[in-house]
Each structure stands twice: as structure tokens, then as C-alpha cells.
């Protein structure tokens, strides 16, 4: 107790130096917390989003440029065992315009089943109907961001927008689905498949969303669809069938790697901070040689001196750790307010980085403290 008080006193006696010494640890701990918060935040966001798509949905994407995959081919998937519904889509980027306001958004051409398969909700109006597809109607359903960009808060249903220069009638607006990794799922415009193919100047299908009847059988159904796709396309490299689970796993592992790397580089700065503490403690020992001599002359044992300096370095590093956690949380909060990125605090990581700063204090404090405790009192007293 007495030793801790002495250490605090000696730290208080030289505040500027103490703060500079702690700075390394503060920066280390707070950057670990911020980095991990951002990393885990984006992992969580991606997982939530992918999870929200439903785990009973498969995505069939066609990627080869020299193959043809028409709507009729896509409809064959409907006949595969275990498939409940399919929604072939074609996609591209278009310019939408209302009066003077225009925006670049992603266009999806699809059929009525898309709404149900992707589990989307309508804010107002209706979705694309089968009749719209058959009639090549120039109707559109807007994503929530697109609607807000073009029409502000006014109701856009019934209004018309220019898509790549052609007038489309807005029939519905979707609820927001949120954004992930900087791409908004709400800056979209959905049109009938036939109209979309015209906009994308293709007669091919880009991808097909498939809803399976039984979630537990999704792997079998996926296998059947692959066989069907092979028989249609004839080139195994030109298509892929993936479930949301696959996507989630990929996204998570990418994010985990990112979090690990961010956290790792921040941890290195903690070690650098520890070396800073050792440096200052060594300076402090040689500055206070005389004090050590006096203390030893009047009865301080090696252990007393060792403990005094060790506790000083631990107090410095743990104080730095606490301040670092505080600054880390505050700056992560500022970051999320400023950029709108989701963050996720991890209590274990906070405790871990605090514990790590304590360990740094012990490890880098032992050498200077041991040096101080070994001083010969006669030599130390003579030191000026």
C-alpha cells in the first residue's frame, strides 16, 4: 500500500513525463480497441445482412462471357427437386433522373417472385407483377435511397422517372435493407426482367435466386442445381451455386483476417509503448540514484527498491491502459458517428489489451527496477 502511494507520488511529481511515458501505451491500447471495434463491427454487419437474406436461398451466378444462359434455361432450375421458387435477374448500372436530380444506381431486372425470395418489404405501392414482365412494361420499384434522392420525402409512387433517358412509372418503393462495406443495398431500381434485359442490352440472365423448400436439404438441392446447370451450360467454370452460408463464411473469414491484422499492428504499438516505459524508467533510475542510496542507507532492502520501481512502471502502464481504453471507446464512438459505420465493442478485447498493458509494465519494468535494487548504497550516496 505504502509502496503504491510512493509510486503515485513520484509519478505526480513529474506529470508531463508521466503522460509522455504513458502515451505509447495509450495509443497502443486505444488503437487496438478502435481497430477491433471497426473490424468486428463490419463482420457483424455483413453477417447480419447476409443472414437477413435467409438461409434457405441459393444464388446461381453465371460468369462466363462466351456462354448463353437465357430465361428459358433459368426456368429449368424451377423443375429441380426441392426448389420452391426462382427469380432470374439481370443487372447493370443505370442513370435515373427526376427533373434536375439524377443518380447512378444499380438496376435489377427480375420477376415478381424476387420480392419473396429476397425477403424484401415494400414501403408503399406494389412490386413488379408477372404482367409487367410479359408486357415489357416501363415500370420501376425504387430502393429507399433512390426514392429519397430523387423525390425527397414526397411520395414517389405514381410519379415517373427517366431511366437512361426513357420514362418509367414508379409503382412501388422498398423498405431500407441497410448497407454493407460501403455499398448501399438501397440505391437500387428494380424493373421487370424483360425491360431490364433491354436496359442491359442483353438477352442473358446474370444470376438466379433460388428459394429451397427445405432448409435442411439445401446442400442436396444445391448439388442438383449444379447438375442441371452443367447440363445447360456445359462448362463447370462458367457458373457457381452458392448459399448465404457460404457467403457468410467467406465474408467472416475475410473480416477476421482484417481484424486480426489491425489488432496485431496495434499490439505492436503496445510493445513499442512498453519499450518507451522501460526507457523512461531507466532514466528515472539513474536520476534517482542518490535517492536510492539514501533509502538503502536508512534501511530499504533490495526488495523494497525493486517493488518501488516495479510498481511505478506498472502504475504508469496500467494508468495508460485505462486511459487508452477510454480514448479507444470515445474515438470509436466518434468514428461511427462521423462515418456511419457499424462498430462492435468487444469486452474481452478491452480486458485483454488492458491486461496486456499491465504485463508490458511488469516485463519492461523488471529490468530498470532490478538495476535500481542492485545499486551499491555507498556508490549511490556519492552520486551527484
Amino acid at each position: 500500500m505504502q509502496t503504491i502511494r510512493m509510486a503515485l507520488k513520484s509519478i505526480k511529481g513529474n506529470k508531463v513525463r508521466a503522460i509522455l511515458t504513458m502515451l505509447g501505451i495509450i495509443i497502443g491500447v486505444s488503437s487496438v480497441i478502435v481497430m477491433v471495434a471497426i473490424g468486428q463491427g463490419s463482420t457483424k454487419e455483413v453477417q447480419d445482412q447476409i443472414g437477413s437474406l435467409g438461409t434457405n436461398v441459393l444464388t446461381v451466378s453465371v460468369s462466363g462471357s462466351d456462354i448463353t444462359f437465357k430465361e428459358d434455361d433459368a426456368n429449368q432450375i424451377q423443375d429441380v427437386n426441392g426448389v420452391e421458387a426462382i427469380a432470374p435477374t439481370v443487372s447493370g448500372r443505370v442513370t435515373v433522373k427526376n427533373g434536375q436530380t439524377n443518380a447512378q444506381v444499380s438496376m435489377i431486372g427480375t420477376i415478381s417472385s424476387y420480392l419473396n425470395i429476397r425477403d424484401l418489404q415494400l414501403q408503399s405501392g406494389r412490386f413488379i407483377a408477372d404482367l409487367d414482365h410479359e408486357n415489357h412494361s416501363k415500370v420501376a420499384v425504387l430502393g429507399s435511397d433512390t426514392a429519397e434522392n430523387l423525390f425527397g420525402l414526397a411520395d414517389s409512387v405514381g410519379e415517373s422517372v427517366q431511366v437512361n433517358g426513357t420514362a418509367y412509372k414508379v409503382v412501388g418503393v422498398l423498405e431500407s435493407v441497410g448497407s454493407s462495406l460501403g455499398t448501399s443495398g438501397d440505391s437500387t431500381i428494380i424493373v421487370p426482367l424483360s425491360t431490364g434485359q433491354r436496359l442491359a442490352t442483353t438477352t442473358d440472365i446474370g444470376s438466379v435466386y433460388v428459394k429451397v423448400e427445405n432448409e435442411d436439404m439445401i446442400d442436396f438441392t444445391s448439388r442438383f442445381i449444379e447438375q442441371t446447370m452443367y447440363s445447360i451450360v456445359g462448362d463447370a467454370d462458367s457458373y457457381s451455386v452458392s448459399s448465404q452460408k457460404d457467403l457468410m463464411e467467406t465474408a467472416s473469414s475475410v473480416n477476421e483476417t482484417m481484424t486480426f491484422m489491425l489488432g496485431g499492428s496495434a499490439a505492436i504499438s503496445l510493445i513499442v509503448g512498453g519499450i518507451g516505459i522501460m526507457n523512461i524508467m531507466l532514466v528515472s533510475v539513474s536520476e534517482r540514484t542518490k535517492e536510492i542510496g539514501i533509502r538503502k542507507a536508512i534501511g530499504a532492502k533490495r526488495g523494497n527498491i525493486l517493488l518501488q520501481f516495479l510498481i511505478e512502471s506498472i502504475v504508469l502502464s496500467s494508468l495508460g491502459g485505462v486511459i487508452g481504453v477510454g480514448i479507444g471507446v470515445i474515438s470509436a464512438q466518434i468514428f461511427t458517428l462521423a462515418t456511419g459505420t457499424t462498430i462492435a465493442y468487444s469486452v474481452p478485447v478491452m480486458l485483454l489489451s488492458f491486461a496486456f498493458s499491465l504485463v508490458v509494465g511488469v516485463v519492461f519494468g523488471v529490468f530498470p527496477a532490478n538495476k535500481a535494487s542492485k545499486l551499491d548504497p555507498i556508490q549511490a550516496l556519492r552520486y551527484e
Binding site: 507520488k9 542510496g293 539514501i294 533509502r295 538503502k296 542507507a297 536508512i298 534501511g299 533490495r302 555507498i378
Partner: protein, 242 residues
């Protein structure tokens, strides 16, 4: 006085050390008894072995050979940690340049030897204030050393030496850093402490200071000479400062 066991018994104490590749014989067989309640001065010029002898008496160092009984304990063969405990309990140090810890207040400085005894805060504070009272500085208890004059600092140092109630006060040039008037005050205080029964060992190079003691011992070239009239006579009109 000679009936009781001497508090310090030193018998043919020798000490050598290496200095720049040369072996220096700092103490060449020193014998000295000090009785309880004595006020003894050890006088000698620099290089006489005076500092080495003081380190021996103060248990800061161990002799190469010879006997050193302090308060009945053989300290010559003790380990460092034991020596530290002996210093804490048996010896009150008064240094030339006070050696107060500048970050601690007067009373905290006085408390130091008690801290290392593991004494509780309240008790420690009480004893420290009593010691400060003895040197007349209770009203300055919470001042830092830098806020005190040289004389006051030395009185705080004396209070620190007294706080642990050690049987021996070891003063190393206690007036060396003070002007003559302040020196007189400090020496008076040391004298009155002796009258109260404290055993005092005063180490100095100044004959005037040494003469305060009831017994003066001269150290020269690593050997001790008990003060006889002849030595004082030799120096009457010669060098006063030795």
C-alpha cells in the same frame, strides 16, 4: 562506564580495495571500542581511510578481516540484507549534505526508516512528529526540503536519524555544508542529544568541530591514533583544519 559492555567493539579491522588497478589499503588494522553514551569524533584528512571507516561503522560495507561487534552482534560477516536491517535499527545517519528526499515533505522524510520497518501509518506519523518536535520543526512538518533553510534541513535529517531510536547516531561532516553560525546550532543540538544519552560518532576533518566531542580519535593512513595531548600540541600552531 567501562563496567558495561562497549556498544561498538572493533578489533584489527582491515579493508582493501582496487582503485584503477592498484590495491589501496584503506584500513590497516583498526581497533576501537566505543561505550554507550560516548560522544566520539573521528578526525582525518581525505584519503586517510576516514570514509572507509565510516562506511564500516555505518554497516554500509564489510571489512576484509577483523571483528566488528555492534550492540553485541557480529556484523562483519553479515549478508547485505542483514546489514540493511542493522542499519535500519541500530544506526541513525546524519549526512554532510542532509540527503533528504526532495519529493517528500519533512515529516515523510523522517518517517522513511520507520516505513522500512513495516510500521503502521498512524504510529509512524506520531513518532515522526515527536522527532520533529525534538529538533523544533513541528511547524514545518509539511514543508518540502527545498522550502527549508540548510540548518532546518539538517535538523530534519537529525529528526530522521532519531525517529527509529537507534542506539548510535553517525554524523558524517554534519556541518560541512553550513555557515558557521548554523553549524554552531547543529553542534549544540548534537551535544544536547549526547547529554540526553545518545551515543554519537562524529566524523569530520575540522578540528574545531571534532573538539566538541568528549573523545577525539585521529585516523591517518589507515590507522587510528587515540587523541593524546601530544597530537593536539603538534597541531596547535600548525594546520587547524586537518
Amino acid at each position: 562506564m567501562t563496567m558495561t559492555e562497549p556498544i561498538i567493539q572493533i578489533n584489527s579491522m582491515k579493508k582493501m580495495y582496487e582503485l584503477g588497478g592498484e590495491t589501496v589499503k584503506a584500513l590497516k588494522g583498526v581497533t576501537l571500542d566505543i561505550q554507550k553514551g560516548d560522544f566520539i569524533s573521528i578526525i582525518g584528512p581525505s584519503g586517510s581511510g576516514k570514509s572507509t571507516f565510516m562506511n564500516m561503522i555505518g554497516c554500509l560495507d564489510r571489512p576484509d578481516s577483523g571483528k566488528y561487534l555492534l550492540d553485541g552482534e557480529e556484523v562483519g560477516k553479515m549478508k547485505n540484507s542483514q546489514l540493511t536491517a542493522i542499519r535500519n535499527e541500530k544506526i541513525g545517519f546524519i549526512f554532510q549534505n542532509f540527503n533528504l528526499i526532495s519529493k517528500l515533505t519533512a515529516v515523510e522524510n523522517v518517517e522513511l526508516p520507520l516505513i522500512y520497518r513495516g510500521m503502521k501509518t498512524a504510529e509512524r506519523r506520531k513518532i515522526a512528529l515527536e522527532a520533529l518536535e525534538k529538533v523544533g520543526l513541528v511547524d514545518r512538518a509539511n514543508h518540502l526540503p527545498t522550502q527549508l533553510s540548510g540548518g532546518q534541513q539538517q535538523r530534519v535529517a537529525i529528526a530522521r536519524a532519531l525517529a527509529g531510536h537507534p542506539p548510535i547516531l553517525l554524523a558524517d561532516e554534519p556541518t560541512g555544508a553550513l555557515d558557521s553560525e548554523t553549524s554552531r546550532g547543529i553542534l549544540e543540538m548534537i551535544n544536547s542529544l549526547n547529554e540526553q544519552g545518545h551515543t554519537i560518532i562524529l566524523i569530520t576533518h575540522d578540528l574545531e568541530v571534532a573538539k566538541q566531542a568528549s573523545r577525539v580519535v585521529r585516523i591517518h593512513d589507515g590507522q587510528l591514533y587515540e587523541s593524546g595531548g601530544e597530537w593536539f600540541a603538534d597541531n596547535q600552531n600548525g594546520t587547524k583544519e586537518y
